[in-house]
Amino acid sequence: MTFPILTSIVALPIVGALLVLALPGGDDEGAATSRRTALAVSLLVFAATLVLWSRFDAGSADFQFTEHHDWIPAFGISYFVGVDGISLLLVVLTAFLTPLALLGSWESVHRRRKGFCAFILLLESAMMGVFVSLDLFLFYVFWDAMLIPMYFLIGIWGYDRRVYAAVKFLLYTMAGSVLMLLAILGLAYLHSTTTGVYSFDLLKLYAIRVPDHLQFWFFLAFTLAFAIKVPLFPFHTWLPDAHVEAPTAGSVILAGVLLKMGTYGLVRFAFPLFPQAAVFFAPALGTLAVIGIIYGALVAMVQPDLKKLVAYSSVSHLGFVVLGLAALNAQGVQGAVYQMLNHGVSTGGLFLIVGMLSDRRHTRLISEFGGLKKGMPHLVAAFLLVTLSSIGLPGLNGFVGEFLILLGAFRADPKMAAFAATGVILSATYMLWMFQRVNYGPVTNEKNAALPDLLPREWATMIPIVALAVLMGVVPNLFLRPMEPSVNRVLARIQQQVPARVRVDRPADHVDALADAAGAPAARGQVAQAEGVR
């Protein structure tokens, strides 16, 4: 029997959480050891995911490292986990962001640090579970269980309106997901009517053909759950509240990982399980995504609060992800998955920086800042790089994802791509404008003059983020290669059932061209041309 590495990745944080709770000392005295323990555990998990990546066979579309144990045999429910190229990268991203989130809230969380660390670790475990589950029941358990630690993180350690935000977050997401539960039950029942036994096994459910009228209902139920989580316009209203009130670590994980669960759910469950409905609803999803891109950007532009601005920028960026998925072609879907990772890195970074600023000044209003560059050159430099990565400057990660998405969207529907492209311009506008107001110009407020620059702990959070942003911008193939077979398999499955609408071709051509463009100076002209579209 092989070593159950996925189970270890899921279980290790739980063990860590119990360990943290069992540490001697009260909730306050035990603080120093508890956060060190939590950090050590989360780094260990990250190391495990790197091992996972190194052993991963990038050429295969199959689920790897699978483990299968009966759980509730009477209903065909099993503990069934495995990763393919899509989930592998999200698992790594989760493990990458968790230690950074812990570091980001290292000093700003003053009360009940033990509980804080335990909830972060429990959250990590649930998120890992969501990404590795190949049994729909198991997936739902992790999906719903994840709400509880996040609820407590926002509700206990958040800012002034934290209770409102926490309850809203929980009820919104739960309201979306319960209907998905019914659809999952319906699927399992359908499996029993066609084969005689219940099953929640994703691979077995892929194999059955869901009747048309049921596909539409099931797809809607699944997509509602995922659309709320993404959040897709008009289901996004919980997000700004949750982000603004959450502590820094909560925001980082919320933006970095939780939102990706919605888009991950679309590409893993909703699209391949119900291909006809997916093709039918794809234009509607794309339209909502484009509305979200533009709406999110416009609303972000007028926000006086840094955190709210970043929150609305997430609505806009996640709109790109959904647009790429709805394009239903290889470029679009690959770009979407890539953009999920990008958004985790760059928005995670932005929330960390906003956290640093708000730790120093105890405010997040843009108007309170100005001229920070003089006092804190290093912090502002990191801020600039993360901002540019979020905008999608070529050479940094955001560009690759957005480029692929727009390419895919253009092939599916040029009009949509045209509208979505305005979102790229708008994002440059609101991000750079915000950056200018915060960092440049004269120091208008005395309090901003003598702020400390990056502390060692903050260096430790910024270096990995910036390094990864550059790495993902320069060698995208490192990340695109493993996901490619998996993405193609999803599309092939849709094409198999709905032949007319889906084009699977060699995405590697475009990818290679893009990689060359990003890597080789001689090809910069192409990129500049592409940039000209903006």
Binding site: A74, F75, L147, I148, F152, Y189
Partner: protein, 479 residues
């Protein structure tokens, strides 16, 4: 008549005997003397548990009217858990308020015996007898705090409406007898089936009256009016006992009567139960949102949970029947745990049963707050807790039987219910308070019972396969 003929009633006899001894002991107790009368209850329940395990799978019948089939025995098991936890949580209240321990425990044990009889009876008259045994004991327990006007009001309302519903039930039995000439469930079933397709008015009257009687006992809307007052007036441990034990016994008999004897008339009663189930889920949840007392909130929550059980009963398929059993167990463990916390917080000078009294509990009593949060989240149906598996089981049954709309109502009301469960969590964890309510220390026995319930809540939520198999095996023997 040989000895074996009595075997099916041995579990309830053990409990009833313990009740009798408790009553006798009370008579010999000098005022102020402390006696471990609660321990007697545990002995009786342990005897019941042993005999229950011995009877499992033997499918014995006593006198032709009490059947120790696996269905009845499963519910008996649930009732043993309910009884043990209730007794453990009663100690602090009895001590503090100086309640007569012997009477209190004797009444509780008699009620448990009545419940066990109700769960295993296969004759309408015996069901009625059991119903009266348990009801009379529970009416008295509700009003056992004689000094409290609320307790008296609750007990009186409960008694009047309960007596009223008993009359309905009795009328139902009379009509059933008039139609079929029997009160035995198996004979009723075959005779009704033989009487042809279209139900006669007499049959409808019989079904309707029985339905009203049961609906009162399981506090289904619109027959739920007594519930909040009775739950609020009774001591917390008794409320927990009522909301789980009475419900378990009543649902067991409800399922037995409607899914076996009256199953041939299913087309006639299922639309009515549909409406009652929907109304119960919706009203229980919506009214629960506006409660400021935790006990009243849990009273409405228990009404809503009754609605989910009705949904399982309505589905009526093998999954639904199993779901009733599993739900009763999961709900009993969870809800009793929650009432256990309420009982422990109950102070001599202050009941601490308002939602706002929970402010800052996580700072003063972290373990109690964590336990309460676990129970409330389980009631709300969050994985990986017992309440999630129970709801999932009910909704699978509903989806399988084609009651999709009712299932949608069910999941949506369960989201709304999360809102009011969370209010308590918000108070405990997220509301700082300058003047924390004073909470008494936790006695050892009650603390242990809380830990046991919390472990069971996790066990049923994470490793439910074995208990689900038992539940499935239990329904295989009857119906």
């Amino acid at each position: 008549m040989n000895v074996a003929a009595f075997s099916a009633i041995v579990p309830m006899a053990c409990v009833a005997a313990a009740g009798l001894v408790a009553m006798t002991a009370e008579a010999f107790r000098a005022p102020g003397e402390r006696m471990p009368i609660g321990g007697l209850g545990f002995i009786g329940l342990a005897g019941a548990a042993l005999t229950m395990l011995g009877l499992w799978n033997h499918n014995l019948t006593s006198f032709g009217v009490v059947a120790a089939d696996n269905f009845g025995l499963f519910v008996t098991g649930v009732l043993i858990v309910v009884g043990a936890l209730s007794i453990a949580f009663s100690g602090p209240t009895i001590e503090r308020e100086g309640l007569p321990a012997g009477e209190y425990y004797a009444l509780m044990l008699f009620a448990i015996a009545g419940m066990m009889l109700m769960a295993t009876a296969t004759d309408l008259l015996v069901i009625f007898l059991a119903l009266e045994v348990l009801s009379l004991a529970v009416y008295t327990l509700t009003g056992i705090r004689r000094g409290s006007p609320r307790a008296v009001e609750g007990a009186f309302k409960y008694f009047l409406l309960g007596a009223f519903s008993s009359a309905f039930f009795l009328y139902g039995i009379a009509f059933t007898y008039g139609v079929t000439g029997s009160t035995r469930l198996d004979r009723i079933g075959s005779l009704v089936a033989a009487q042809g397709m279209a139900p006669t008015p007499m049959q409808l009257a019989a079904v309707g009256l029985l339905l009203v009687g049961f609906a009162f006992k399981v506090s289904a809307v619109p027959f739920h009016m007594w519930t909040p007052d009775a739950y609020e007036g009774a001591p917390p441990a008794v409320t927990g006992f009522m909301s789980t034990g009475v419900k378990a016994a009543a649902f067991a008999a409800f399922a037995r009567v409607f899914l076996s004897a009256l199953y041939p008339l299913r087309d006639a009663w299922s639309p009515v139960v549909w409406v009652i189930a929907a109304a119960t889920m919706i009203a229980g949840t919506v009214i629960g949102v506006s409660q400021s007392s935790v006990k009243r909130m849990l009273a409405y929550s228990s009404i809503a949970h009754g609605g989910y059980l009705l949904l399982a009963l309505l589905a009526g398929n093998d999954v639904g029947k199993g779901a009733i059993l599993f739900y009763l167990l999961a709900y009993a463990v969870t809800n009793l745990g929650a009432f256990g916390v309420i009982a422990l917080l109950d102070n001599a000078d202050r009941p601490n049963d308002q939602v706002r009294d929970y402010a800052g509990l996580s700072a003063g009593h972290p373990a109690l707050a964590a336990a309460m949060a676990i129970f409330l989240l389980s009631l709300g149906g969050f994985p990986p807790l017992a309440g999630f598996i129970a709801k999932w089981y009910v909704f699978s049954a509903a989806v399988k039987a084609g009651y999709t709309w009712l299932a949608i109502i069910g999941v949506l009301t369960s989201v709304v219910s999360v809102f009011f469960y969370l209010r308590v969590v918000v108070m405990m964890y997220m509301t700082p308070t300058e003047t924390p309510a004073r909470f008494p220390p936790v006695p050892r026995l009650a603390g242990a019972a809380l830990i046991v319930s919390a472990i069971l809540v996790f066990y049923l939520g994470i490793l439910p396969a074995r208990v689900l198999d038992w539940a499935a095996a239990s329904i295989a023997t009857i119906f």
